[in-house]
Amino acid sequence: MRVAIFGSGSIGGYIGARLTLTGVDTLLVDAWQDHVLAMRKDGLRLTTAEGGDEIVAVDCAHISDLHRIGLGSIDLAILCVKSYETRWMTTLLRDYLAPSGAVLSMQNGMNEETIAEVVGNSRVLGCTLTRLGSELEEPGLIHRWMGPPDANYAVFRVGELHGMLSRRVETVVDLLSGVDKAIATRNLWGERWSKLSQNAMASGISPLTHQSINELFTSEVMLPVMVALVREAITVGQAVGYALEKICGIALDAWSDPRGLTNGSELFYGLAAWQQNMGPGGQASTLHDMRRGRRTEIEAINGLISRKAQEMGVEAPMHTLLCKRVRAQELRPAAEASYREEELAAELWAAAQ
């Protein structure tokens, strides 16, 4: 079985290297030449917050060299590019997919529909990732700053679009089990939206205030805002009809409990537990991108919640505002934060009125 990772950055590179270590025939494809050259020359170095440090000899290719891999030779294409790169990358890889091959989206947001438009519904699988926080620190070096709270936590949840189980889902679960705990889910869409709700807590605020994830989770100003963002996302997800799963490991009832963050509430303890063993170094990928002048995934995260809200006729004013502000900021990326947290929180509370 031939696996190819498309987008071998923080997530794709990490998973590609770990699959390689378990003996899976894996090709790491990337568009950034410096990264490809570094991986080819010295291997891909993986470090972890716990002090792990290893170098993996990986098979890699720059996208301009794809013609060398042979048309129709890939059995499983794992898509790890930014959401906004989904359509062109899927179109590019389509020719290299074996007749029975499938594309597995390991991205943020919900890109399965876009992928299906290019390769057909029957060739798409989805996988949500939680507690896999990593970063491409420099060409050839990926640091994992967040791992699972315990060995029983399912980092990978793999599913078919139609929600039934299948042999190929089992195969993918087996493959990914060599990286972290993986399970098959019959609720891909519910998992996706729940993960999206979690992402959207930090992905809109961070690139504006430049707070790390840990700073956000420990901020008395921002934590209530983040709870409100999750509640908005839950409202929209339920309007669409998704069967939502736990968010940050916290049951839906606890999120909607009117006691909110009152000391002693389940939500209070749940978020505190989630924040623990998170590591201080993690930052939202949107902040990482903003600092480097790159395009963020804001439209695929908070923007998606905002668009779905509009579609279903429910309100998501905080997500809408965040998406608008981040998009404006993308056009003039700032080395320093463009908002103080009190300022942004006040603006968001006003929008929610």
């Binding site: 996208i63 062109w88 395009r295």
Partner: protein, 347 residues
Amino acid sequence: MHIVIFGAGSVGGYVGGMMAAAGQNITLVDAWPEHVAAIRSNGLKLSGTQGERVVEVNALNISDVQNLMRNPIDVALLCVKSYDTAWMTALIKDYLAPSGYVVSMQNGMNEETIAETVGWGRVAGCVLNTIGVEITGPGEILRWFEPAQRGFSVFRLGEAHGGITPRLQTLAEALQAIDNASVTTNLWGERWSKLANNAMASAIGPIAGASLREMYADQQLRRLSIRSVVETIRVGLGMGLQLEKICGIPPQVWLDTSGAEVPDYGPVEQGLVEFEKRIGAAGQASTLHDLRRGRRTEIDSINGLVAAKATQIGVHAPLHALLTAITKDVECGRTPQGKAALANLFD
């Protein structure tokens, strides 16, 4: 007007470089990192029939196309291989200005594929005749075709609907800095006529391992290529297209070579002598260039396209079907390159 060239190889690099030298706002985008790095550090070196120059021009790697979000595209000139059309257009789409559009400067007929992504209103075509360029190394492009004489357009821009539009007139003025450019009301006829020209050289010379000059000099190869043009013309007429001159020779003159008991190649061969004079010794079909470097060829979009359209409309085009198949055999090493591979097709 921000003109962004996607695929800054032979055609894209030359056209973009010459327009930048003439003061246009140009960005080159290419997937070959060494090429981009060379342009950035040493400028783009253009040489050949229009003299030598080194041009300073913006160049972006494919991974940095998103930088265009701060500097949107007014005109995207698509110069990638035909098989790269769909994904490249999908990549471009997000960075087009509201009135921005895509111009296909490619071989084959890719406007429809582009329109599937950006819509017909944002597509135009540009047919190139006798541009004759080649990338000789990272950051280095050579034009081997002599510049056109007065009255002959190298660049023929056309809208899908055939109307003359201000946007294409403006672009034609910009292209005029390189060589003669005009707006045509007959994009599809121009495309097919150019395709006939491409299809006469893109398989036969490369299969035989012959440059353009070598192909025209060899009577068997030359006459086989003339017969291939006749076939392409018949398919084009079957599609209802109004064809233009091919290699400067009117369609009817090509058709007149066949039909009689013994084919009369005389008038066409005379015309080809004139056409040949402007081809430099370095001239070769892009297919040959690709075969030599082990790259995927565009054969499916050239001879393969003629064969596919022929099947669609029920016209016979056996030569193009065979030439496509043989080229692919050479491409994957099943058949050795050489004239022998064409032996069954000669008169």
